[in-house]
Amino acid sequence: MTGPPDGEAGERHELPAELIHDLRTPLGQVIGYAELLVERAQEAGDEGMVPDLRKISAAGYRILELIESRFTAVRAADAGGPAAPAERKGH
């Protein structure tokens, strides 16, 4: 039986590129502010906060991985038909 493998490396779904852009923007803010807070906590000697803050950024990166592994960005101009290979997200 042929077809995409199961699991995270399996079938990819197409999403409008603008939607992926709109998801990545606040995700970047979650990750970025969490990492900023890690730095500030370390400077303040509040090491107890660091593991929890790292969980926030790790969860953000996990969502990013899921977006990149499960979805292929397609331009609005390609809606209604398959995206040209050159317009698909790299790798």
């Binding site: 590129a17 992926i20 852009h21 709109d22 990545r24 923007t25 995700l27 970047g28 803010q29 990750i31 970025g32 502010y33 990492e35 900023l36 730095e39 370390q42 400077e43 953000g60 990013l64 990149e68 960005a73 331009r75 050159a86 317009e87 698909r88 997200k89 790299g90």
Partner: protein
């Protein structure tokens, strides 16, 4: 202290990234649209520009073209930053004259490495690429 012009219309992105860069020892000047970015590149003479591409007034591609077309600013390295991650976005940024390209969410060590490569190894402040500030 290297001066970076960050051209970014999203207030939270601007705040977050500028604070993280300042903590690494860079001086950061800000612009909130492409036209402001072109004007700031001329007036502030930054060592490097971080250019969001989806900008109001003048988008990042056109702003980069203007920076690279002006004799006074064409030498300034420009790194494109975008939450678009399609291969065509990278090609389009480089065609506009960007010297490098990075995607959002920003991975700071990766971005710092690109900044320092374009600045000729001039690290910002006391921190080296990828290392937290002491």
């Amino acid at each position: 202290m290297p001066r970076i012009l960050l051209v970014e219309d999203n207030e939270m992105n601007r705040d977050m990234l500028s604070r993280r860069l300042e903590r690494k020892g860079y001086q950061v000047v800000l612009a909130v649209d492409g036209q402001g970015g072109v004007e700031a590149a001329l007036a502030q003479a930054p060592d490097l520009v971080l250019m969001d591409m989806s900008l109001p007034v003048l988008d990042g591609w056109e702003a980069t073209r203007r920076i690279k077309a002006a004799p006074a600013t064409r030498h300034i390295p420009v790194i494109a930053l975008t939450a678009h991650a399609m291969s065509s976005d990278r090609a389009r940024a480089l065609e506009a004259g960007c010297d490098d390209y990075d995607t959002k969410p920003v991975e700071l060590p990766r971005l710092l490495a690109k900044i320092e490569a374009l600045l000729g190894g001039a690290a910002g402040g006391t921190a080296s690429a990828g290392e937290p500030a002491p």
